[in-house]
């Protein structure tokens, strides 16, 4: 028996042309990815930025929209960012819409006649253990009027330079990737003028007209600097309040007769038992009152009040500090 089979004609040229798709390198990388997780990492999906308040929105400690003298190194002004001030002296300022509209920046300016030293800000990362032994990328937008303005990281034993600004007074995107030591005992991200003999570059003398301005600081896992992850003010504030909370002057829930103990719960649970500071404490009658905390924990405290006169209410401003 004879069987006749007919097959449609195939245009080989057409099929080959189909293979020549207009895909870029990133697109091909996506196609080559073996797993959805790999694709997820490639596009940097999900929560990426490990820096809190990286766009300098939150400033619970005060209004620093005008230049404020830095009192000493290690002081906190804008939430989560500590200052570094060695030999140099300077001011700090939150610049609203400083980088682009809707994106703040922070400006640190050199004051006085300075030569060499360090002036900058840094953030201590709480979850440093998740970075140990892994590749991380640090990025920011930076404008500096003089050389020796850097993006650095510190892993508990070594300072590692990530990138340097050219010092030409214009905004530049800085980024770099490092392998974090598996024995890292902490992790800090610095943006600073470091004009001292301690680094391998030629120290550049700074003058009182020099400043740098930084915006959109990001730390993420992986070797790609993805676009800055914008979070809402409310989200960022809640993240900051794990470390610091300011209760503005207001009435504490409690009633003073001779001595009172009132329960007080933080808005956000704290990283550790916090340091508590009361200020401007008065009774509703205007008489002074002494307040002290009892057993502050990660979730709240009791407030003890003692005064010489009875009153219907107590008011105070409270700072709750669990910063690293």
């Amino acid at each position: 028996m004879t069987v006749n089979i007919s097959k449609p004609a195939v245009n080989v040229r057409e099929k080959l042309a189909e293979l020549d798709k207009p895909t870029g390198i990133a697109g091909e990388a996506m196609l080559r990815a073996e797993t959805p997780q790999e694709q997820f990492n490639l596009i940097g999906a999900g929560r990426r930025n490990l820096i809190i308040n990286g766009d300098f929105q939150v400033s619970q400690r005060g209004d620093y929209t005008s230049a404020t003298a830095i009192s000493s190194g290690g002081t906190l002004y804008l939430d989560r960012w500590k200052t570094e001030e060695i030999t140099l002296s300077g001011t700090i300022q939150q610049v609203v819409d400083g980088y682009v509209t809707g994106s703040n920046s922070v400006k640190l300016a050199v004051t006085g006649s300075s030569s060499v030293g360090r002036l900058g800000i840094y953030q201590v990362i709480e979850d440093y253990k998740k970075l140990a032994g892994r590749e991380v990328t640090v990025s920011c937008k930076l404008k500096a009027t003089a050389p020796n303005c850097y993006l650095w990281v510190y892993d508990g034993s070594s300072y590692i330079k990530i990138a340097e600004h050219s010092g030409n007074s214009s905004w530049e995107s800085l980024s770099g990737t490092i392998n974090v030591s598996s024995s890292a005992s902490q992790f800090r991200v610095y943006v600073k003028y470091s004009s001292s003999a301690g680094n391998s570059d030629t120290p550049n003398a700074l003058t009182s007209s020099d400043y740098f301005e930084v915006a959109e600081v990001q730390l993420e896992l992986g070797k790609v600097a993805t676009p800055f992850e914008h979070r809402s003010y409310g989200e960022e504030l809640a993240l900051c309040q794990r470390y610091y909370e300011e209760v503005p002057l207001g009435r504490i829930t409690g009633y003073h007769i001779a001595a009172v103990r009132a329960g007080f719960q933080w808005k956000v649970n704290k990283r550790a038992a916090p340091t508590v500071t009361f200020s401007s404490s008065v009774l509703s009658t205007g008489a002074s009152v002494t307040l002290s905390p009892s057993g502050p924990t990660t979730y709240g405290m009791s407030i003890n009040a003692t005064a010489s006169v009875a009153s219907s209410g107590i008011q105070s401003q409270i700072s709750i500090d669990a910063e690293l």
Binding site: A197, A273, T275, S292, P296, N304, E323
Partner: protein
């Protein structure tokens, strides 16, 4: 100035802070640092035993960490001298039969275990520019900054090792 209270932890009268007795709190760590640095001068009255013990432990751990870092720094080669190559005979993993001893023996080969590093140039020359824009720059010869840094770091490490208490060294 600090004082410890029964209910509120440590009170800092300088900043009007109430500091909990929590090692994760940075102000608590600052209290321990103040006890290490200033002793009873920073405290209103005697330092409570638990705080003194915590401060002693912190100081011991700091000294031990510094001692380890300093000894590791001193173990590095001196950049001005360079480093000599070290070779060792090591077994290749193969064995051959020795007819004289009638035993299997390892085949050995020479391996470089420490690579040689040339000493750096003792001095470097750099151009010095005057504030006078019209003046010609001049050449200046200075000690190689790598040697300067190495010497300074070694001197600092030597000082740490020398000043480390015996009890800390013994714990290593």
């Amino acid at each position: 100035m600090f004082n410890k209270t029964e209910e509120s932890g440590i009170y800092c009268s300088t900043h009007n802070h109430y500091i909990p007795l929590d090692p994760a709190n940075r102000h608590y760590q600052e209290v321990l640092d103040a006890i290490i640095a200033d002793g009873t001068d920073c405290f209103d009255g005697d330092i409570p035993e638990d705080l003194q013990a915590a401060a002693d432990e912190k100081q011991f751990n700091q000294q031990l960490a510094d001692y380890r870092a300093a000894t590791a720094r001193l173990a590095q080669y001196i950049v001005a001298d360079g480093r000599a190559e070290v070779r060792e005979m090591q077994p290749t993993g193969e064995q051959v039969f020795n007819e004289e001893t009638m035993e299997m023996e390892d085949v050995m080969h020479e391996v470089v275990t420490v690579t040689a590093i040339e000493p750096v140039e003792p001095t470097v020359t750099r151009m010095v520019y005057s504030d006078d824009m019209d003046a010609e720059p001049t050449e200046e010869t200075i000690e190689n900054p790598l040697i300067t840094t190495d010497n300074a770091e070694r001197a600092a490490a030597t000082k740490i090792v020398k000043n480390t208490p015996k009890a800390v060294k013994d714990a290593e």
